[in-house]
Structures are given as C-alpha cells and as structure tokens.
C-alpha cells in the first residue's frame, strides 16, 4: 500500500451557536488555519476534497458540500460528500486516505462541519433520532440517549459497571478540556456533580452526554512524495479499519466475541456478543486497523487514544472494544486512572491497580467537553492527534498541559448511532 501522511490540519472553536458564520465560512476558517500552518501548502497543490456533514436537516440545504467547495475556490476539482452518522468525520478521513492511497490524488482535503444551532436542542435530537429505524424505533420516543442508556444498563448488568465509573469519564474529559481553548465546555467537575445533574435517560444525566455544536475541521492528507515536497512535520497514517452493525439494537446477534491478537476466546466464555452491551463494529474496526498497523497489543503499542465519547458510557464500552482492557473491565479501567493524563489533578482517587499501562484517552477533552458538531468531530480528533504526534500542541493551544512527552503512535475512533458505523485510524510519528 502506498504510504499516506497527514500534513496539516485546522479547526474552529466549537461553540453552542455561531449564527454569525454559515457552514461555508466556518470551513473556510479551519481551512485557512491549515494552509497557514504549512507554508508550502497552497490551494493549487490540492487535487480534490471529501466533505463531511451529517444531515441535510441540520443544514437546511442539500448538497451543502458543493457550496463549501465553491466557497473555498476549489472548482473545478473533484469533490464528494461522505456520510456515516456520527462517524461521518472518521469516514471522511478514511475516504481521503483512499483517494491518496489509490494514487488518484497526491494531496486531498478532508473537510467537515455541522451547524446544529439552527434548530432547538430537542428538534436536533429528533433529527439525530431519524437516524434510527423510523418504522420500529423512532416512534417510541425518537431519542438516541435512550438507546445508549439501555445499552449501558445492560453493560452494568453483565459486568457490574457503575454510574460513578461513568461519571469519572466526564470528570476526566471536561478536566482535560480546561487546557484546550478550542473546546466548548471545559469544566472542573466532581462525580457528585455529574450524578446530581438533571437526569436525561436513566442512568445517564445531562453531564453523561455530549452537547450539540457549531464547528468545522479540516485535515490535509498527502502521498509520501507530496508530503516531502511540501515540508513541515507530516504524520503517517499506518492503519485504517471500519466496521458496522445492525441499525437496530434489538436486531443484533448474541454470539461470540471477535478476538484481538492479545486476547483468547477463553477470556470470554459465556459472554454473548455484542448483544446490546458492546459495539461489534468498533471491535471490527480496531481489529482491521491493528492488522494494517502491525499492532498486536493496543495497550502497549498505543500512546494515546482520541475516541468518540458521545456518552460517558460509550467511552467505557469503547475502551473494551479497542482492547485497552478486556470486555467487562471498562469500569475498573477508568477507576485505575490509566486513561487520565498523569500531569493533571482531577480531584479523584484512583484504585491503585497497575494492571494497565497508562494510555491517555481523550486528552483533548473528547466530544463530552470539546462539543460534537457531527461532521467535524472525527476530523477534530485527527487534528488533535496530528498536533499531539507532531509535538506542536503548545503552539496551537497556547499551553503544553495536554502534550505527551514523545508520543509515538495514537488512535482516533469515530462512531455512529449505537455503533452502526465505526472507524478506527492509527497515526504515527515519522
């Protein structure tokens, strides 16, 4: 396979509502950021683009991607839109990878956005719920938080996961975001505050859930030849994987666990998979990406993870899917502190277990604290991973609190509605 690199990236600050800018201008700002960050990069060097946004409903505009393309002055170059629910940004990044890896483009722009403030929050939830089966699921209440709540309730039943463990994910991610000026809702929280926040769908409180946002992000990918010609500090994309599952939770199989290289089928005797407790598509995506990147033990081989924490519960479930810990251990994993940044004080006591190597999860603050402008989110993760691997976080964030010392390899993970589509991408310092 032809090697592919990320060579630049840009994001806007994610905010609750940005009425002064339409989606075209928001992408323009992220794009200008990326161009400014790599002086050799000009619009002429870009061969084409892939555009990512979730829904025609939020944009009130079909083919919004064509309008971004013309606003950036990229006509008559190739462009297309990709969509995969909440995983749209991850799909976009991987499509741009394919465009370069296939030899079609030397330099490809991945660009994404969402403007979710153009309707009220509950209408926005309705739009999102239209991405569940409109005959059999949506009419029951039309509410994704409810679906995730049922999933984690079963996770609690199978594995003993607690709401306090979930709350710690919120404490961690909002705490990390205190040092990320692009984040929408940085905060120093306590487990009590998370649990005493308004209940949305038992057991998930409003602080267990990410918020809707306006925002944009871009990532620029290039072939090895183009990357060396354009200079800067490229980061190599060494693994991509993607997986899917039935649209409806109710239809998913209760079968055998897909095994990662460092696991044994005996670890999971009696466990029915994925049921409604786990994300089979996430496991599948991880397995493919690890194979391509040559990762045999993710807990050892990865230095950080930016994963799709639309809910605190999904971070716990996803750490298991990715093999950072075994299925059923996600609660103890967060208790151990292994996924926290070692240099920050979260006001929490960790269990002291040293079963797992420390691998910071969502050092950026994740979706919980950065916000979740759907089409931009997966690309925002790519930009943070890129800066993290470049060692350039201090330059972009104005502080180095989230910068890991010498990170070698990171993982980004993008996820759609209850796991219907999930992408995993591995990025490595060159």
């Amino acid at each position: 396979m032809r090697p592919v690199y990320m060579i630049s990236g840009g994001i806007t600050k994610f905010v609750k509502a940005q009425p002064h800018k339409d989606f075209r201008l928001m992408v323009r700002e992220a794009y200008d950021y990326a161009l400014a960050d790599l002086p050799g990069l000009t619009p002429e060097t870009i061969d084409g683009s892939v555009c990512s946004y979730f829904s025609d409903h939020f944009t009130r505009q079909v083919m919004a991607g064509a309008m971004v393309q013309d606003y950036l002055g990229l006509n008559p170059k190739p462009s297309r839109r990709v969509e995969g629910g909440g995983a749209t940004g991850g799909i976009c990044f991987q499509s741009a990878w394919e465009a370069v890896a296939s030899g079609r483009h030397e330099v490809c722009l991945a660009m994404g956005f969402e403007t979710m403030s153009r309707v009220n929050t509950w209408k926005g939830n309705e739009f999102i719920a239209l991405a569940s089966d409109t005959n059999f699921d949506y009419p029951l209440g039309g509410f994704y938080t409810g679906y995730y709540a049922m999933m984690v309730r079963r996770h609690m039943h199978e594995f003993g996961t607690t709401v306090e463990q979930m709350a710690k994910v919120a404490v961690k991610n909002h705490g990390n975001a205190l040092h990320n000026p692009f984040a929408q809702s940085p905060a120093m929280l306590t487990v009590d505050e998370v649990r005493s926040a308004p209940m949305v769908a038992t057991p998930l409180t409003v602080l267990d859930c990410c918020t809707m946002s306006d925002g944009a992000a871009v990532a620029i990918l290039a072939s090895e030849e183009a990357a060396s010609a354009l200079g800067g500090t490229p980061v190599r994309i060494t693994g991509i994987g993607s997986g899917s599952d039935a649209m409806r939770l109710a239809d998913r199989p209760h079968s055998e666990v897909l095994i990662l290289p460092h696991e044994n089928p005996e670890d999971y005797e009696g466990l029915r998979f994925p049921g409604v407790h786990s994300f089979r598509g996430g496991r599948m995506a991880a397995r493919s990406a690890y194979r391509m990147a040559g990762i045999t033990d993710p807990g050892t081989d990865l230095d950080f993870v930016e994963l799709h924490d639309a809910f605190t519960s999904s971070e716990i479930q996803t750490c298991e899917d990715l093999g950072l810990c075994r299925y059923g251990e996600g609660g103890s994993y967060i208790d151990s502190g292994a996924s926290f940044l070692p240099n920050l004080n979260y006001g929490l006591k960790f269990s002291g277990s040293e079963q797992w190597r420390p691998v910071p999860v969502n050092p950026s603050g994740g979706l919980l604290a950065c916000g979740h402008p759907i089409g931009a989110t997966g690309l925002m993760q790519a930009v943070f991973a890129f800066w993290q691997l470049q060692g350039s976080l201090a330059k972009h964030l104005g502080n180095s609190m989230l910068q890991l010392p010498e990170p070698r390899r990171g993982l980004i993970h993008s996820h759609a509605g209850t796991g219907t589509t999930i992408t995993v991408t591995i990025m490595e310092r060159v």
């Binding site: 719920a129 005959n135 059999f136 209440g141 509410f143 409810g146 309730r153 949305v200 038992t202 239809d251």
Partner: protein
C-alpha cells in the same frame, strides 16, 4: 411588456429573531405517503392483537421484529406469531426525548426477550414507576383498540 409592473404587497411577513446577523423563522413541512412495504403484515397484525415476527427458512432463526431476509444466512423468512409474554432484557426511563415526544415524557423503554426468539423487541413499558423496572421482569403485551398503524399500537405491562 409593462415596465411599471409591480408585485402586489402582502402583509404576510417574516419573523425575525435577530438583525445582526439576520435570523429568520423558516418553516418546512412534508407529507409522506409512507409505505410499510414488505413489513405491512406486522402492522396489520397489531390491529388484530398479534405480534408478528420472522422465521428464517434457511437457518431457523427467529426475529422479534420483521425482516424479509435473514441477517445471518440471507434466506427469505416467513411470518411467525410471537408470544405475548417476555422478559425485560434492558430498560431506561427517558425524561427528555425528541421534540415530537417531549409531551410524553417520562416514558420507559424496554427491550423484550421472548423465549425461543433470537432477537429482541423494542417497546414501551406502562404502569411501572422507573424504580420498579429491572432486568428479567416479566412483561405482557397489550394492544390499542383504536389502531394507528404505528409500532406504538403495542406496549407492555408487568405480567
């Protein structure tokens, strides 16, 4: 040609929420003639007080929600009737929901397991306080008499 032509003025105006930037109220609506297509017998079944599932003719799997072809082996399925009694596989009580459903909050969602059926059935549980619900609870289907040809024509109560 009339160079003095004028469109009539109308007093149907536009609601503005802001002037800098200009934010307008903009309404859109759609009427679908939505077909349940191959799943129609399920909805017809609700009107007769029956829960109709699918039975794979290839591998024998039973689906609690209709599915014309088996997800596992790809064979066509036939219709089969499901039991009216099952158990709660998981649950939640929603205090919020989509705009259309806000007026119905709080409501409790359950995934129902039926003995001998390989997948679950999503429905609402009625008549139970949030703290009374638990995994394993036995539940029984009830049907609306005035059928609306929606999946909400069936709901569950504790058995």
């Amino acid at each position: 040609m009339d160079p003095r032509a004028k469109l009539p003025e109308s007093e149907e105006g536009t609601v503005l929420f802001n002037t800098d930037p200009i934010v307008i109220k903009d309404h859109y609506e759609i009427d679908y003639r939505h077909s349940y297509a191959q799943d129609s017998p399920f909805f017809a079944g609700l009107a007769r007080g029956k829960l109709m599932g699918s039975h794979c003719q290839g591998c024998g799997r039973r689906y609690a929600t209709p599915r014309g072809h088996c997800m596992e082996c790809g064979s066509a399925t036939t219709w089969c009737e499901l039991p009216h009694e099952g158990r709660v596989h998981t649950y939640t009580t929603c205090y919020y929901g989509s705009e259309s459903f806000l007026k119905e909050t709080p409501y409790t969602l359950i995934l129902v397991e039926f003995t001998g059926v390989d997948t679950l059935f999503l429905s609402r549980l009625v008549g139970a306080a949030p703290e009374e619900v638990s995994i394993g609870l036995k539940v029984r289907a009830r049907f609306l008499r005035n059928c609306k040809f929606k999946v909400t024509d069936v709901y569950f109560v504790s058995a």
